[in-house]
């Protein structure tokens, strides 16, 4: 796995996300009722716990008892041990009980977080119950800043029941999150009814297809990406000569050359397409040389 990545714990998802979530980020899982959002959250939690991590799970809906029962029903019996050993701390609260959401929630996390905890899960972030419209952005931004300092956070967002359109009626400003994953279930019981789409994954290359998934007892969410879909997110090495040539050209461009050659190197590492990058590189070098030529 890449440095600075936190595995999602979802079978088959890390490969589509450049290795997983980025460390110390806010990652939102969005979807309607019954798509598997809580399963996603619990799977992310369990994956970390089983690897010696500590997790804080804030639940605005289910009690600790319900969460444990759901896990046991899924076949994740080890969750009980993790609670007993205090690797997993579950807090059940109601949005209405928070007087100053951004301050109260951040304070609660700070005081109740287990020692050395790197993962936080909030399921679901039902902010409409305790935020006014005007406060949402500022309050969430404040909470997220605090959460980023602590670790990698997973937030579950419930999509409105009539929200067929992805961003229509969105209750949380999604731009505040670093990653947004959208889960859908049409309910026909076919392969493409349950699908996952990575809407946004800041600072990272990610798959942009529609990926079918299933929820398997004992395992959780399993993504069924085809070989071709997986190949589309893998960097291609066959254009090494084109990139080397471009880097050489960039280096000869004086002051901007150093940073430009670095950026071309980044493009090379992330070039996942089968197309020849020559046209893109030509355009970039031509545009960049405009300023350079003016200065020289």
């Amino acid at each position: 796995m890449k440095m600075g990545r936190v595995s999602t714990g979802i079978y088959g998802l890390d490969d589509l996300m450049g290795g997983g979530f980025r460390e110390n980020t806010i990652n939102a899982i969005r979807g309607g009722t019954g798509v598997g959002k809580t399963t996603f959250a619990l799977q992310y939690t369990l994956y970390g716990l089983n690897r010696g991590e500590k997790v804080l799970f804030i639940s605005f809906e289910m009690s600790e008892k319900q969460i444990l029962r759901d896990c046991m029903d899924m076949g994740w019996d080890e969750i009980k041990d993790h609670v007993e050993k205090e690797n997993l701390k579950i807090i059940h609260l109601f949005g209405e009980d928070l007087t100053f959401p951004s301050l109260d929630l951040a304070e609660m996390i700070r005081t109740s977080i287990p020692y050395n905890c790197q993962k936080i899960v909030i399921d679901p972030l039902t902010h409409p119950t305790f935020y006014t419209e005007k406060e949402i952005r500022k309050s969430l931004s404040t909470i997220f800043q605090e959460l980023r300092k602590i670790g990698t956070t997973l937030i579950v967002l419930e999509e409105p029941a009539n929200g067929n359109q992805l961003f229509e009626g969105s209750l949380m400003p999604l731009y505040l999150a670093d990653t947004v994953i959208h889960l859908q279930n049409l309910g026909f019981g076919e392969l493409y009814d349950r699908t996952l789409r990575i809407m946004k994954h800041r600072g990272s290359k990610h798959g942009d297809s529609l990926y079918p998934y299933t929820i398997e007892m004992g395992m959780g969410i399993v993504i069924h990406a085809s070989d071709k879909q997986l190949d589309r997110v893998k960097p291609k090495n066959k254009f090494e000569a084109v990139f080397s040539d471009a880097i050489e050209k960039a280096r000869s461009m004086g002051l901007i050359g150093k940073s430009l050659s670095g950026r071309i190197g980044t493009l090379q590492k992330n070039w996942t397409r089968d197309e020849d990058p020559t046209e893109v590189i030509k355009l970039v070098l031509r545009e960049e040389s405009k300023g350079y030529e003016k200065r020289t």
């Binding site: 049409l186 392969l191 069924h224 085809s226």
Partner: protein, 119 residues
């Protein structure tokens, strides 16, 4: 399952005169597609399709139709449901062998159905 889908779309796309073949979900979300690269007209047609699929699929179900054809500019668009939640669309040039394309598209829908329906 997904390999089967990729293969059937590849085979269909190999037929002369087919400019694009797209497997849509009934809500208009493209699941898989094969196209000849960027063509503005094709893109416009695809945007139109995304908006219309759900409605067309509903109407076809109501009327009990196996396929529906739209003629756009120089393109013939064949829409054929492949399962309860998927629709296969082929976009062919006017000069293409339409009979062959219709037959192959309908054959493909049967294979797609086997791939997407859980047994």
């Amino acid at each position: 399952m997904k390999k089967g889908l990729e293969d059937i779309l590849d085979d269909l796309y190999d037929i002369e005169g087919i400019e694009a073949c797209i497997l849509y979900r009934i809500d208009g979300v493209p699941i898989m597609l094969r196209t000849c690269g960027y063509k503005e007209e094709l893109l416009k047609t695809m945007f139109w399709l995304e908006k219309q699929i759900k409605h067309v699929f509903g109407e076809m179900n109501k009327e009990g139709l196996n396929d529906t054809v739209f003629n756009f500019r120089n393109n013939r668009i064949l829409i054929a449901p492949s399962s309860k939640s998927t629709v296969l669309v082929t976009i062919a040039t006017g000069e293409a062998n339409q009979q062959l394309i219709s037959m192959e598209t309908l054959r493909a829908t049967r294979i797609i159905e086997k791939c997407v329906v859980f047994n």
